[in-house]
Amino acid sequence: MKHVFTKEWRQGHLIALFGLLMGGLITALWGLLTIAWVEDWRDQEAVNGFCGVIYVLLLPVLAGYVGAGLVASETERGTLPLLLGLPFSRRQVWLGKFLAGIALTGSAVVLAVVPGAIAIRPAFEEVHFWEILPDLAFGSLLIFAISFFWSTRCATIISAFLNTTLLTIGIALFVLVWMALLGTLIGYGPLLDGEIWALAVCIGLVVGSYFGFSRGDVLLSQRRRLLPLAVAVATFLMLSLPIIALVRWDTRYERAEVVEIKRPELTGGGSAISLYTRGSPVRFLREVENKWFADDFPDYRANYAVCLDVSSGKELLTRRETRPPVLSPDGKLAAVLRGPQPLIWAGHFDSFPATVVEVWDVANQRLLYGGTPSEGFATGQGEIGWMGWSPDGQWIALAGDLRYHRYGPGIFDQMLLMRPDGSQARVIPLEDPPHAPRAWDWAPDGKSIYVVREDGVLIRRSLLDGTADTIWEGPAEHIPYAYRIEVGAAAASPDGQWIAVAMKVYYVPGSFRGRTIVASHPSAQYPKPLLLVYLVSADGSTSQLLFKEPAERAILQSDLLWSPRGDALYYIAGAHSGRPSERESVWVVAWTKGSDRASLATLSPSTPLVQTAVLPDGHLLLSAWQRAYIVTPKGRLVTTSSKFTDAFKNWRLVGIDARGRAIVTRWRQRDNEIAAMDLSSGEVTAIYP
């Protein structure tokens, strides 16, 4: 075996050098393209992706080439009888060749990858090379096994392929691209992603190769009758793999790798948490004044979006390159929004992001719907495109943006509506676009939505006929003097009687036709921006100003939070004085049903970054840095120092789950743990990961 290995190694070592050559060529190609073609970071990403994909394809090609040549080359040259005539058993010869093939492939791969890993790291990161390396290695091993199997069993056919090397490479590339597309179709990884059946095929081929070589008439293995068998197997694979892919389409793909938990959110009536877990950031090159800088961008494509069952911590749904899933009100279905089709395996060259919506039956891990509901609808790739279920769970809606905003927020000038099974999808253009992704809400009956327009006007849009009714003209007393209105949030009360709207109004003294305007009201009275919270009745007949405070440095903090019974409303805003020495102040706006004005509680935590949740009893639980507070609907601060304060020292509040527990995240350099806290005992139970 040793001698056969040595002979094979000496015979094939140029393959390893070929790997080095290819690595150098790809690196040089990357450099050439970067110098000659790249003008901005998008071009650079395209070059990175292109070179990365070549690397991804190179590895299996090398494996296939080495594997196919091990026996076929002996047959082709006629040296197989010489080899078999040596005083070694077939097992030794086979093993020597097999191990030499592995060693040669490994060396070629290492020598090909090393220059790239050193010189063009961004290309590797663009295609998530290191993440997919185990898959890639496994896929390459499988291709090696296939080619080695056919090399031992059908050497003449294989050697004919080898004789026409270009044809071999062409076929290999075709198969790989085909597999890559298939892998993309079934969920990001290559087709063979750790699946037991693929492993079984791999082992079966190796064993078949061994028995074929050691016990069969190898010299006669080029019998032509194997050709139909080869064609049959190839046809079977070609036909069966898409079928397998279709079967796999509705199965869960992966478990998240938790590096950092980001933006956890309770959905599904408090039964589940949706969150991001951050993977490795994507590095790209940025040009500043003719110099290139590498920069890490926390591209969501590197993230996992996870939906957790809060009672068990089990991952109900895990998807990569998506936004966090949103559970239906009954907690049975999850809708997840995907941005651009992640064609990392076939080369993702910047393309207009088609919006893909998936709806999953989380209990059975079945995909109910997956696709692009409307070709004309796009959500961009940033933090936009917030999606929500109608309160009755019959509709899914999301706000969209026709323009392509890769990183920044867009203008939400359209709304997509669809049934959970993907039917009845339609895009409603919004002549009255909301300014922010959450500046709209469902009416409790699920038949219409409320949208707060950019100028503060509240509109109810029927989903049945698309008609729009203005139900509130906005803050009329402020609008004539407003320079700009920034709508923060809109929320309909659970009983359907009220719509709460929060906004910030900016006033700027200006001039008109050469005359300086000094408004007597309200700009003179309120020279600084105002933070306003209104309560509007569902029929628009009455509106009520709940809260009005100067808010020059106000940071809009929270959604408008209704208590479960709709008898209390909270809104939290933080303000920063701008002086580091001063403590922050946080306003808690609390309103109870029947009141004509909200109460205001002011807290002074060490940070305005607070998390809030409404407790089942209607009180507000609020946590800030190492502090916890409870505020009554009357705006009374009942707890500032308690067991909660101690318990919350290392925890940040996410929300209150269906069992009344506080769901929290623990911060240890990063938020990387989720737990449930019993509010009566302060006991913390780890949930995830």
């Binding site: 001698h3 040595t6 002979k7 000496r10 015979q11 040259r77 006629g78 040296t79 009888p81 010489l82 078999l84 005539g85 040596l86 005083p87 070694f88 058993s89 016990r215 069969g216 008439d217 010299l219 006669l220």
Partner: protein
């Protein structure tokens, strides 16, 4: 002879390739220390027989032993003690002659480099040359030199002398085969050059269409197979008792090639107005007559 006295024995050895019987119940015996010439027309099964002995291909049925070892179950041990050269055997062209001999030396524990260099030096082969750069004949010489490097007890030369010039051929015959015989080792040689075989072989076997039709010592064969020429001016058709393997008739003369010649047979053919004479046959003539006879019979 006992079983141990045979370097090769086979019993009903059969190898089929689909419908074709490449070997058809071959039962051969090659005595130890002999130089055995296995002859046969193209496609007779000579190479198949050699490959089965080395277990390069598996027999369909029957059994064979080489040096007392079963060729299937103890194939590694067989190959360790057997040298083998195939006709126009392709070599690993990327190796130099030195690489090749070194590689082979590592494969056999009983390697004797001087035996190899002796042959290579006599022919004048540059050991630094790559095998791919050598002529066909030079490569054949390298193959033969390497095949005796481990001092095999049995050397299988499967048409290995093809492509050699007369000088090289003589060198190989003299320095390799004669030396093997002198040391009591066995050589099985197949090929079409009957003149060479007649010169060096002491045993011969005839394969025709996969069947071993004759196996004998060369001397015995030549004593048994003779040509009987009968001149008969008046007889229309002369017959011979026991039949002949080949008959050539002309109006005044009939020539029989008989497989079992004896003086009694000659006497029985004698008669009035006949002139009967027995002629010795060259091995090539015997081969041709036997082959034709059996091929016609097979049709």
């Amino acid at each position: 002879m006992s079983e141990n006295e045979y370097a090769i024995t086979s019993a009903s050895l059969t190898k089929r390739f689909g419908r074709l019987r490449a070997l058809d119940a071959v039962s051969a015996r090659v005595p130890r220390g002999s130089i055995y010439g296995l002859m046969g027309p193209n496609g007779a099964g000579k190479t198949t027989f050699v490959r089965v002995l080395l277990n390069l291909i598996n027999p369909t049925s029957g059994s064979a032993q080489v040096l007392g070892l079963d060729v299937v179950r103890e194939s590694v041990a067989v190959r360790r003690r057997v040298g083998h050269v195939a006709a126009l055997q392709p070599l690993w062209d990327w190796m130099t002659v030195r690489d090749y001999t070194d590689f082979m030396a590592g494969c056999y524990p009983t390697w004797r480099p001087e035996a190899v260099s002796k042959v290579l030096d006599r022919i004048g082969i540059d050991t630094q040359a790559k095998l791919g750069e050598l002529s066909r004949g030079q490569r054949a010489i390298v193959s033969i030199a390497v095949a005796i490097g481990h001092e095999p007890d049995l050397l299988l030369l499967d048409e290995a002398l093809t492509g050699l010039d007369p000088i090289a051929r003589r060198e190989i015959l003299r320095n390799v085969i004669d030396a093997m015989q002198a040391e009591g080792r066995t050589v099985l040689i197949t090929g079409q050059d009957i003149a060479d075989m007649e010169r060096i072989c002491d045993h011969v076997g005839f394969l025709v269409k996969g069947r071993l039709v004759l196996e004998s010592t060369l001397d015995d064969l030549k004593a048994r197979v003779k040509r009987i020429r009968i001149e008969h001016p008046s007889e229309p058709e002369v017959q011979i008792p026991g039949g002949a393997i080949q008959v050539e008739r002309s109006p005044r003369e009939t020539v029989f090639t008989v497989e079992d010649f004896s003086s009694q047979l000659l006497d029985s053919l004698d008669g009035p107005q006949r002139r009967v004479a027995a002629e010795d046959l060259a091995l090539e003539d015997i081969f041709i007559d036997l082959a034709q006879s059996h091929m016609e019979a097979a049709r």
